[in-house]
Symmetry: C2
Subunit: 280 residues, 2 copies
């Protein structure tokens, strides 16, 4: 990690702000890159470069001019509608390779985007390298602990997400009493939890057994530098509204944004947060 300016490609969620604050605290100059006309509300005085998907040449010129040698991706960015009439020369040269990837899974898309930035001499670093304090520790970090039923549900969820990962889809699932109540698609974890919240309790027939576990873990083989799963206070609130027993995340592989508040909210609702180690 150099002391040069750091570019933060800022999507939705709390992660970009946390990164900007952490980098600034380290004494680094921060440049924000925002696509799709997105204007972060939290920005104070960092310079902002407006990214236009059709004009990556302009973006690279601005990044080099600002002295950026490193770049970090943070938060979700909606895939754009691309207008070929607006392409700059750089995009013309990239289009044949890049555009087909945008219609594939998240992993394939991000790999392609990554290669483009690296080709420009920009070093991609992971959010977890700047925010290593926020990586999930090991063990159960709440007052509530997972029951044996919950651990069985977690095991089933791991089985399911392993297969989903092979299809390059999602990083999460909800399982209750062995039944899969939710599978993460492009809309993300919050949308999946809203869906589960609308599910009839008839799908959880035994009110004494586990009421459901949300699993979050990176896809196997996923490049952590660019799409690390995160949870935070809102995840827990939504898990509570979905009447789940708790949330399980892979230790050292998922960021917990605002960890104190996240644990506090889980304790208030009686949910567990269990950070499991992956064997082997």
């Amino acid at each position: 990690m150099g002391s040069q300016a750091l570019a933060i490609v800022a999507g939705t969620g709390r992660l970009p702000e946390l990164l900007a604050n952490a980098a600034t605290k380290m004494g680094r100059k921060v440049v924000l890159v925002c696509f799709n006309g997105y204007q972060p509300e939290w920005r104070t005085d960092q310079p902002l470069i407006e990214g236009v998907f059709e004009k990556p040449g302009n973006l690279f010129k601005s990044l080099h001019k600002a002295g950026c040698t490193e770049i970090v991706f943070a938060g979700y960015i909606l895939r754009p509608r691309i207008n070929p009439l607006k392409f700059d020369m750089k995009m013309v040269s990239l289009a044949a390779k890049l555009l087909p990837k945008l219609k594939m899974g998240d992993g394939a898309t991000l790999d392609a985007v990554k290669a483009v930035f690296e080709g420009e001499g920009l070093n991609i670093i992971g959010a977890h390298e700047l925010l290593s304090d926020l990586l999930a520790p090991s063990g159960t970090i709440t007052k509530a602990k997972p029951s044996e039923d919950d651990l069985n549900d977690l095991k089933r969820a791991q089985e399911i997400t392993a297969h989903l990962g092979n299809a390059d889809v999602g990083q999460g699932a909800v399982v209750a009493q062995g039944l899969c109540l939710g599978l993460e698609s492009i809309q993300g974890t919050d949308a999946m939890l809203d869906f589960v919240a609308q599910t009839s309790d008839n799908y959880r027939p035994d009110d004494k057994a586990g009421q459901g576990v949300l699993l979050k873990a990176p896809k196997a083989g996923q490049d952590w530098r660019i799409d690390l799963p995160t949870i935070g206070p809102q995840t827990i609130e939504k898990a509570a509204t979905a009447r789940l027993s708790g949330v399980a995340v892979q230790a050292q592989s998922v960021l917990i944004l605002d960890p104190e508040e996240t644990v506090e909210i889980a304790n208030k609702h009686g949910l567990f947060i269990h950070c499991f180690e992956v064997e082997g």
Copy 2:
């Protein structure tokens, strides 16, 4: 297929009624079996046996007494809360093998249930054997045809459901412009389409490209006799509300309930219904 009485285990949806009508038309005596206190509204004069999960011994006695040698499963039945205090002797003998399966995927559960009925000398037949007229034909059966974009989305959906099937989850997915907008969990296709209907159009950035394909197909290795995927008028209405381009089903492997009405509704909304052949 004998001429003996046919037992229909009736769950939700239109399938049990269609089966009862078809069997009656063939001159067969029909006995309905209903679990969970479910009372079909469409029933006219078929005898009804109330199934109680804890007392399969009673059920088998009733089925034998009614002269049933064949049984067909139709429609979704919620998994019950099981009370061990109510077990009859038959259930006591089955419990150790059967109960753990109820917390596994659909396929594993149904295989276990199937083995129990077959062990009692009941021959399980598939809904499609009585309703072969309703099996999806080959080709596009609507005025609208899938575009090349739609066929690409179908291909991606097939890839995803193949992986989901390996996890013994779901029989369906929605893909638009290469992005997965929905994955079928235990709540079924209608719930998934309701979820997609709530999805922002920002996830379908190109309004000239495909707006999404619902794929329905049996899981690989699935026993068709017991859990054949179905679509019908309601599926198409919900696909239209979810602003999809159309619906793709595996030819000869999915039942289309009320096929004329289903096609008519698709034509009204400009959706395609494409019945694809599986290669190899």
